[in-house]
């Protein structure tokens, strides 16, 4: 069913129960439940984490959107808010945390560093954005994003959840979901997908 048809499903509701019955789709009620209670992982990396705390505090208060239940354990979290610079030393831990989160799970890259390395991108121990490691759903620009920008990004995530369908989402498909391979700390950070290329380059040299 298309989103725009959800409020007029085409079924006649008898007059005497009109006040107490409404008809909707499973997707819509399921998504409504999920989008209104996204529990973020309590996970601060750098400067952006301070703005995340300010967003949680009284002036901006993102509990208005059902997101105030920050979970320190990845097992209980729905959304990873990557708030800050992802360094190579931290990269294996982030991937492990992501793998430990139960589906459905979302990743929001907050700020320039998490989106693409930011001002520290050229550095030797900074990963150029968390999307080199794990899939990202929403990117929020800013250095750091103001609380308003963060809330806007989180509303974008809610809009994304609204468009999903139980039939199509990857975590309800047949078969196991593969875990993201954990990068290795070698002489530099080594992604497992790069290992053949590095070996070939060594053989040629």
């Amino acid at each position: 069913m298309e989103n725009k048809d959800l409020n007029s499903p085409g079924y006649e509701i008898p007059d005497d129960i009109k006040g107490s019955v409404s008809i909707t789709s499973i997707d819509r009620i399921y998504n409504w439940g999920r989008r209104s209670s996204i529990w973020p992982l309590m996970f601060g990396l750098a400067c952006c984490a301070i703005e995340m705390i300010c967003t949680a505090a009284s002036r901006y208060d993102f509990s208005r959107f059902g997101m105030e239940v920050m979970r320190p354990s990845p097992r209980q979290a729905d959304m990873m808010l990557v708030s800050g610079t992802v360094t190579k030393k931290m990269a294996p831990t982030i991937v492990r945390l992501y793998n430990q989160m139960p589906e459905p799970k979302y990743v929001v890259a907050m700020g320039a560093c998490a989106s693409g390395g930011g001002p520290f991108k050229e550095g030797y121990s900074v990963v150029s954005g968390v999307d080199k490691l794990i899939p990202v759903d929403v990117y929020i620009p800013g250095c750091p994003p103001t609380p308003q920008a963060l809330i806007n990004g989180l509303i974008k995530l809610q809009e994304l959840i609204d468009t999903q369908s139980i039939k199509k989402v990857r975590w309800y498909q047949k078969g196991e979901l593969a875990a993201v391979p954990i990068p290795i700390l070698g002489p530099d950070l080594i992604y497992q997908r790069d290992i053949p290329a590095i070996s070939d380059a060594k053989k040629e040299a």
């Binding site: 750098a46 300010c54 150029s128």
Partner: protein
């Protein structure tokens, strides 16, 4: 007002005719000490000359002269100017005796110099990498080390300016292009070195109790993902039951190559990067860096700019301490309610920062010889309203509600004690040093800017426990408000910048160490210039980093639950710890 004690005439060369010479390079100061005399000279400095506080250790790579230099900045805790002494060693055989026995506060700083610069400190008991991981290839702050995205030695890069053909650095330097893999490295057989070195450094592993029963001690890791570590910080401990036998902080999870990037940037380009060091107190970081470069350039700052600088630096201290108190109570178990009150007040200070600089947190407000812009109309009235009315009342209110709380007191009083001797020995700085009974505040001990004009007390507490480190922050907020109150009354009209504002400053060759009393302690910037548009060496003496040296000794013998309280009372920010 107490005047700082005058330094007695000091002649290190007469005391050590062999092995010590004055540093006579143009623009340099201090003494050059022969490596084999270093421990002897340092001991004499501490015991005979009274330089009991070794604040900073920086390595410099003079690649043209084929030598590495270690620069030590020593001070007296009774106040007065400092003393610089240096050791020069050949690049190929970079070995310097460790000063661990004389000044244990150099522990982490020597490890950092080993990690990033490859200087081997002989006799250091635990010389491991500290910011990078074991197995990393090379020492990145050496001038001939090139990172994966290396493009040119200095900015602005030719490709971006003036032609402006920008591109993504991934496209130019594919990921592996510049990575230096060692010869024997085989990615398919590589086993990460893991944590053996770390766990090996923790003391005592096995024990036999009085009945002859053999018990293993437990190793516990806290972090790097933990809500009480104030960011990505990790603590490795060995426990005997619930008691801590040995504890080592593990850091570097937020190592963002501040210094390597800083040596590539032009001088002014570094200003926004300093914001991101201690991201709670960006104005203070700007202040320290501006002082260091102004010392090199030898320029004065106009009166009005000095006053605005002081107001902003003290506002920073107020909001930093508010946040620190809130987060500390979080750690103690008063989950988020005190923080909410503290953050509410902090937002008001951030409003002022946003009005004057355009950004809430990353202010980038200071310039060499002045400020980026003047105070906008009406902002001084806002500051007055905060400093005279709102903040004093709210601080008193927080004090009344929190400080006598039964749970807070029973968890904090007498716990995690750091004695005055230990605080000096471990080079603790700021509130941590003063809570241990050492009245050392750079604003008073070695005044910079216009701090000698204001009437304020150096906040001191004498027990050195967690409670004193908490309550001293309340005291300091009150003193900062006093300074702000005087400054907004006295502030003159006038220019806010010496000369014309310029993007590219000319900095003569030489070295300078600018230090300010940041909210976390002594924040120092060691800058070496070779006359070019970029700093040759740019080192940060980060108080959060060095304050952690005392963390292990403070926690030994406590219960595991107290570690979080001790860490909260140190008040670290990981951006500064790891840089």
């Amino acid at each position: 007002m107490v005047t700082p004690a005058q330094a007695p005439t000091l002649d290190l060369v007469t005391r050590f005719p062999e092995g010590v010479v004055a540093d006579e390079r143009e623009g340099y100061e201090g003494y050059l000490v022969a490596a084999d005399k270093l421990v002897e000279v340092a001991t004499a400095l501490r015991d005979e000359f009274g330089f009991d506080y070794l604040s900073s250790v920086s390595g410099v790579d003079y690649i043209a002269e084929e030598m590495l230099e270690v620069v030590y900045h020593a001070y007296k805790t009774i106040g007065g100017p400092g003393l610089v002494f240096k050791v020069q060693v050949a690049r190929k055989k970079a070995e310097v005796p460790s000063l661990m026995d004389v000044y244990p506060g150099v522990d982490f700083q020597e490890r950092e110099a080993w990690d990033l610069m490859g200087i081997n400190f002989l006799g250091h008991p635990d010389l491991r990498r500290i910011l990078l991981w074991e197995g990393f290839e090379g020492h990145p702050l050496r001038k001939d080390w090139k990172e994966a995205y290396y493009e040119a030695d200095v900015k602005p890069f030719k490709s971006r300016w003036p032609e402006g053909n920008f591109f993504r650095s991934e496209e130019k330097a594919t990921y592996q292009a510049n990575v230096q893999y060692p010869d024997k490295f085989d990615p398919e057989k590589w086993v990460p070195e893991g944590e053996d070195a770390l766990y090996g450094a923790l003391a005592k592993y096995e024990d036999v109790d009085n009945t002859g029963l053999k018990t293993d001690h437990i190793t516990i890791n806290l972090g790097p993902q933990h809500p009480s570590t104030h960011g990505v910080f990790r603590i490795a401990t060995i426990l005997d039951g619930e008691t801590i036998v040995s504890l080592k902080p593990v850091m570097g999870y937020l190592h963002r190559n501040h210094e390597k990037i800083g040596e590539r940037n032009t001088y002014l380009q570094n200003m926004p990067f300093t914001d991101r060091l201690d991201y709670l107190s960006s104005m203070s970081n700007n202040f320290g860096y501006a002082l260091a470069v102004e010392k090199l350039m030898n320029i004065e700052v106009p009166e009005r700019a000095e006053y605005i600088r002081v107001i902003m630096a003290e506002m920073t201290r107020v909001q930093n301490h508010l946040f620190a108190i809130g987060m500390f109570l979080n750690d103690i178990g008063a989950f988020f309610t005190p923080s909410l009150y503290a953050i509410e007040e902090r937002e008001l200070v951030l409003d002022i920062f946003e009005i004057v600089s355009g950004s809430r947190m990353m202010c980038n407000y200071f310039r060499f010889g002045g400020l980026a812009r003047d105070l906008p109309a009406g902002s001084l009235e806002m500051i007055k309203g905060l400093a005279f009315e709102r903040l004093p009342r709210r601080v008193d209110e927080m004090d009344r509600f929190l400080s006598d709380n039964e749970i807070l007191r029973s968890r904090c009083v007498g716990q995690g004690v750091l004695s005055a001797e230990d605080a000096i020995k471990y080079a603790a700085a700021g509130p941590m040093l003063r809570a241990s009974g050492v009245p050392y505040d750079i604003r008073r001990a070695d005044p910079y800017s216009i701090y000698d004009r204001f009437d304020f007390d150096v906040a001191v507490r004498y027990n050195g426990d967690i409670y004193d480190r908490y309550i001293i922050r309340m005291d300091e907020i009150r003193q900062s408000l006093r300074i702000i109150q005087q400054a907004v009354e006295q502030i003159p009209e006038g220019p806010i910048q010496t000369g014309k504002p310029q993007y590219q400053v000319r900095v003569p060759a030489g070295e300078a160490y600018g230090r300010v009393e940041g909210p976390k302690g002594e924040l120092g910037f060691y800058v070496v210039s070779d006359g070019k548009p970029n700093p040759y060496r740019y080192h940060v003496r980060a108080p959060s980093f060095i304050n952690l040296t005392a963390f292990g000794p403070m926690c030994t013998g406590l219960k595991i639950a107290d570690v979080v309280a001790v860490l909260g009372s140190i008040d670290i920010v990981l951006g500064e710890t790891d840089r």
